[in-house]
């Protein structure tokens, strides 16, 4: 089942690439992505809320003890759904435009989806590393071939940063497995459960953890390893950027939660402060940059840096609420940032192809539907109370407040800054004076059809975050339980269960907020 989920997109696109019809590639890739989305929804519906489901475990390389092991748990379930959802819509959005060499384009797009899904589902460290590295290749080519004018330099930066991280992680993964096998006297194994069951001693954990952390922080991107981000975001085709920013950055955060913390608990505790400081720097730096930039893509990009900072804070709070919030926020951020980039694409098309917010503006009245969508997205970005992001950020800050109060107080500042840049982006792009070259108009039906599901999903998670929280709870708590013991906390797991339930009460409120948002036009 999971194998089908992973390989369906690329298989469909491969068929599309071989059929000698120009449009077949795009449509088949879309079909594959939708199929994967369907499977993902089925997975969510069928997940019980505890342990692993749909376990696939086949020996891949016997001599190295590497397994082709896939499974769904509460942690990756919604990330998988997010991936299939974003990719399906991004591929749909890409179908609206014409691309040079479409077959290769969609093949790479679908390959990217397969690789990301593989990374989320892998339950074997070697398999995870393989998928983690593999997903770079399609994005590298997508950026390099179909990107903007400065694409070659951007590609080089992107690849050097991310590959360096990946290769370090490769070395770290092998070292981890080999040392674990020596330490425990068992045969070489890369299975995550085995590695987590036999932790290394502290010294080895620490350097291995740093190598993993470097790879994950680059991918997120987090300050100060975000150097590749501005160039890549400026040049990447927007449809690709939507999934790149929406999904790929989550793989880094997911890596922390699923791999680094369970396997290297001592090191995670040891470096907690360092990572928290980096996360705070990301929030402040990202927010500050976001409201000085004028390029809409970069505003969204730097806001991602800040948001990923929040997620990291949540993970490294080592409190169940924080981790829960982080997982929720990963999905929420993906749901918000992907449509944001697609909207920027629509706006740029009306502003003579410019991504600069100084060239936009004054569209809101002529394109009310677009404006409504944008406003919802913008409010979600700034974590307006009632939005899913608010729940996520609140949980993160709550978790952090319990363990590291100072950090959470500083992080509150980030929440305020988020509202500044999100509103600035919205106001400058939609209201204000009409831009010089703006050819205003409502977006086309096809664009609306692509955006509407995103808006729907944002609203769904705003009203009903339980959908995710219930399912991810036991796994997420499990993945940080050892850190809690190590940091000397005595948090009862049950304490958590009462909390999310309270948020249901905010459901109606959320609707009102959005309704007012719409009425504001």
């Amino acid at each position: 089942m999971l194998s089908i989920l992973i390989w369906l997109p690329v298989a469909a696109a491969l068929v599309g690439a071989l059929i000698p019809l120009q449009r077949a590639g795009g449509l088949l890739a879309l079909g594959g992505a939708l199929g994967a989305l369907g499977i993902a929804i089925a997975l969510i519906a069928g997940y019980s809320g505890h342990g692993y489901a749909h376990v696939t475990d086949v020996v891949w390389i016997r001599s190295l003890g590497i397994h082709y092991a896939l499974a769904v748990d509460g942690l990756n379930l919604f990330l998988v759904a997010l991936t299939t959802f974003s990719f399906a819509l991004a591929i749909a959005a890409a179908n609206i435009r014409d691309w040079p060499r479409p077959r290769v384009f969609y093949l790479l797009f679908a390959l990217a989806e397969s690789a990301v899904l593989g990374a989320f589902l892998a339950q074997d460290l070697a398999l995870f590393v393989a998928f983690f590295d593999l997903m770079l290749i399609p994005f590298y080519l997508l950026l390099g071939v179909w990107g903007g004018p400065g694409r070659v330099a951007a590609t080089l930066k992107l690849v050097i940063y991310t590959f360096v991280g990946s290769l370090l992680m490769l070395a770290a993964a092998i070292a981890l497995a080999v040392l674990t096998s020596e330490h425990s006297g068992q045969p070489l194994s890369f299975a995550l459960t085995t590695l987590a069951a036999n932790p290394l001693h502290k010294g080895s954990q620490e350097w291995i953890f740093l190598l993993f952390a470097a790879a994950f922080l680059v991918k997120m991107p987090a300050f100060p390893l975000h150097g590749w981000m501005p160039d890549a975001y400026r040049e990447m085709p927007l449809e690709v950027l939507a999934v790149f920013s929406g999904v790929l950055s989550k793989v880094g955060a997911y890596g922390f939660l699923a791999i680094a913390l369970p396997i290297m608990p001592l090191a995670a505790v040891h470096f907690q402060t360092l990572i928290l400081v980096l996360a705070l720097c990301s929030i402040i730096y990202g927010s500050a940059m976001a409201f000085t930039q004028t390029n809409a893509r970069l505003i969204a990009g730097y806001s991602s840096v800040a948001q990923l900072g929040f997620i990291t804070l949540g993970i490294f709070a080592f409190a169940p609420q924080g981790a829960q919030g982080a997982v929720l926020q990963m999905v929420n951020h993906g749901l918000v940032v992907a449509p944001l980039f697609l909207i920027i694409g629509v706006l740029a098309a009306r502003a003579g192809g410019s991504d600069d917010i100084r060239d936009m503006g004054g569209i809101a009245f002529r394109a009310p539907v677009l404006a409504t969508f944008f406003l919802i997205v913008a409010f979600a970005t700034l974590a307006m109370p009632g939005s899913g992001n608010f729940v996520g950020e609140f949980l993160i800050l709550l978790g952090l407040f319990k363990t590291k109060m100072v950090f959470s107080i500083i992080a509150f500042g980030g929440v305020v800054m988020a509202s500044v840049y999100a509103l600035r982006l919205f106001i400058r792009a939609m209201h204000n004076r009409v831009g010089p070259k703006v050819a205003s108009g409502e977006m086309s039906l096809r664009n609306a059809l692509v955006l509407a599901p995103f808006i729907g999903a944002i609203l769904l998670f705003a009203i009903y975050p339980q959908l995710q929280l219930h399912r991810s709870e036991s796994t997420v708590t499990g993945s940080i339980v050892r850190e809690q013991i190590d940091t000397g906390q005595n948090v009862r797991v049950a304490e958590l269960t009462g909390l999310p339930a309270g948020w249901i009460a905010y459901g109606p409120n959320a609707e009102t907020t959005i309704a007012t948002g719409g009425a504001n036009k």
């Binding site: 891949w60 390389i61 016997r62 001599s63 190295l64 060499r101 290769v104 070697a126 590393v129 393989a130 998928f131 590295d133 593999l134 770079l136 290749i137 080519l141 390099g144 071939v145 694409r151 070659v152 590609t155 080089l156 690849v159 050097i160 590959f163 360096v164 290769l167 370090l168 490769l170 070395a171 092998i174 070292a175 497995a177 080999v178 040392l179 020596e182 070489l188």
Partner: protein, 511 residues
């Protein structure tokens, strides 16, 4: 009785079955040379390479037939075991690829087809002898039988100064290597009184270890082999010769010579000198480290694809040497596995490069592959895959090879070298990606494929046969098959592991 004895004199027993791969190669070499003398142009240009392929195919068949036998042939001078078998398969595959690459090329045309392919088969024979060698004399004979035809092959594009110079340069450097090696062998013989590997190993374990004579001998032997395997700092000839030699020959040198050289390194260090490992291991580790750094840094600024691959081969030699240096069974397996992988990736790359040399007027410059992605995906993909694999990206065999090497290094406690391999791979991205950038992100410089200027002689085009825009079906075939194999074994690597395990079993007694 007496009459019967006279009719059937008791010569030494010869195990023809074990020798059959060698017989096929030598026989093929002679037949090819003879057929090359025929007057018919068809016989010379088509039958000769075909017979070469047949000979190599038969060799492979014999190796598979003899796979499970471990025989010491010719009074123990040659050992036909699974290590020999594996390396024979590799060099034969390299030979097949080189034959395909030079089928309609310039080099055989200029040097007479029979001679060209006959020398290639001779060189392959030398490689087999070298890897099978069980004593110092056969080692030397194998090495020279490998080298001398290669010197000639490098110089076969005779109208081209670079090719002749490459030949002479390789000859001089290679002979210095051989002479150093012979002197080292002489000293080892002097220290132990035996030319036999097992005799030497026995003598060392009986208390001749750390003898000055022996250590000097080992040092000189290492230097000699390092010249052949292009290990830094004995690599200076590599980029020059790679660039100057005809490209199919470069491909052949890159993959087959390397396989044979590392086969014999495994044999020498892990069979003949295991007792001395405390003395040679640090030296080999340092050589590996130097090669990784020098090769990767040297490749960065190159504008010729062949020079780039030359430096890259130095770096790759460093990776492979690391596997030899750790002197564990796992290390030996990783070495063999990487050799297989290295062959696949390089042939795929060279196939595409040779094709572009013949199709464009830019020789092996980066311009030759610019815009290839749009123009010719059947060449662009193998080249891209090869570059990604050389850099060690997942879903290619290169990833598996590197993974296994790092695994072996960490397992033996050499994490620092594993990290260095990783650092080297990062640097290598800097130049492998330049190739991919050229393929996909640049547009072809001018009207390339239909250039009215015609193909200059350097590119191996000749007006009579090589019409521009010809399809070069055999080049495509080689590139696609080897590129496909690179991906296939990246996803299903278990067969490679099994092969490497078989081959390394031969050595496991000594390790």
């Amino acid at each position: 009785m007496i009459a019967a004895a006279l009719i059937h004199p008791h010569g030494p027993y010869i195990d023809w079955a074990a020798l059959s791969p060698l017989v096929a190669l030598v026989g093929g070499s002679v037949v090819v040379l003879m057929v090359g003398l025929l007057r018919s142009r068809f016989a010379r240009t088509q039958v000769v390479p075909f017979l070469t392929l047949v000979s190599l195919g038969v060799t492979i068949g014999f190796v598979i037939w003899q796979w499970h036998r471990h025989v010491a042939a010719i009074s123990g001078a040659l050992a036909f075991d699974q290590l020999t078998g594996t390396i024979t398969l590799l060099v034969a595959a390299g030979g097949i690829a080189a034959t395909l690459l030079s089928w309609r090329g310039q080099a055989p045309r200029e040097s007479a087809h029979g001679d060209f392919y006959s020398m290639m088969l001779g060189s392959i024979t030398g490689m087999v002898v070298l890897v099978a060698a069980q004593n110092l004399v056969t080692l030397f004979v194998g090495l020279e039988l490998l080298s001398i035809p290669l010197y000639v092959l490098c110089a076969t594009e005779m109208h081209r100064a670079a090719s002749l110079e490459a030949g002479l340069k390789y000859l001089i450097v290679g002979s210095v290597g051989s002479a150093t090696l012979v002197y080292g062998l002489a000293l080892i013989y002097g220290a132990t009184g035996s030319t036999d590997f097992s005799g030497i190993a026995g003598s060392i374990s009986q208390g001749h270890s750390s003898d000055v004579l022996l250590l000097t001998g080992i040092a000189l032997l290492t230097v000699g082999l390092a010249f052949k395997a292009s290990i830094a700092p004995f690599h200076q000839w590599t980029p020059d010769v790679y660039e100057g030699a005809p490209t199919p020959v470069t491909a052949f040198m890159a993959v087959a010579t390397k396989a044979a050289a590392f086969g014999v390194l495994l044999r020498v260090f892990d069979v003949m000198l295991p007792a001395e490992h405390l003395n040679w291991r640090p030296a080999l580790l340092v050589l590996a480290a130097i090669s990784i750094v020098v090769g990767n840094v040297g490749a960065l600024g190159q504008s010729s694809l062949k020079r780039l691959l030359g430096y890259s081969s130095v770096a790759q030699a460093g990776y492979i040497l690391a596997g030899v240096a750790v002197a564990t069974t796992l290390g030996a397996r990783a070495t063999i596995l990487y050799l297989v992988v290295y062959l696949l990736m390089n042939i795929a790359a060279f196939g595409a490069i040779v094709a572009r040399e013949r199709m464009t007027p830019y020789g092996d410059d980066f311009d030759a592959v610019a815009g290839l992605g749009a123009e010719d995906p059947w060449l662009a993909w193998p080249l891209t895959i090869a570059m990604l694999a050389l850099a060690g990206v997942p879903a290619t065999a290169g990833f598996i090879g590197k993974f296994f090497l790092i695994d072996a290094l960490v397992g033996a406690g050499y994490t620092w070298l594993a990290i260095l391999i990783v650092v080297g791979s990062m640097i290598s991205l800097g130049y492998y990606l330049r190739v991919i950038n050229a393929v996909w992100m640049r547009s072809a410089p001018g009207p390339s494929a239909s250039a009215a200027a015609g193909v200059p002689v350097i590119a191996g085009g000749s007006p009579e046969a090589d019409a521009l825009g010809q399809t070069h079906i055999e080049l495509r075939f080689a590139a696609v098959v080897f590129g496909g194999a690179t991906v296939f074994f990246g996803i299903v690597p278990q067969p490679l592991f099994d092969l490497a395990q078989h081959a390394a079993n031969t050595l496991s007694g000594a390790l």
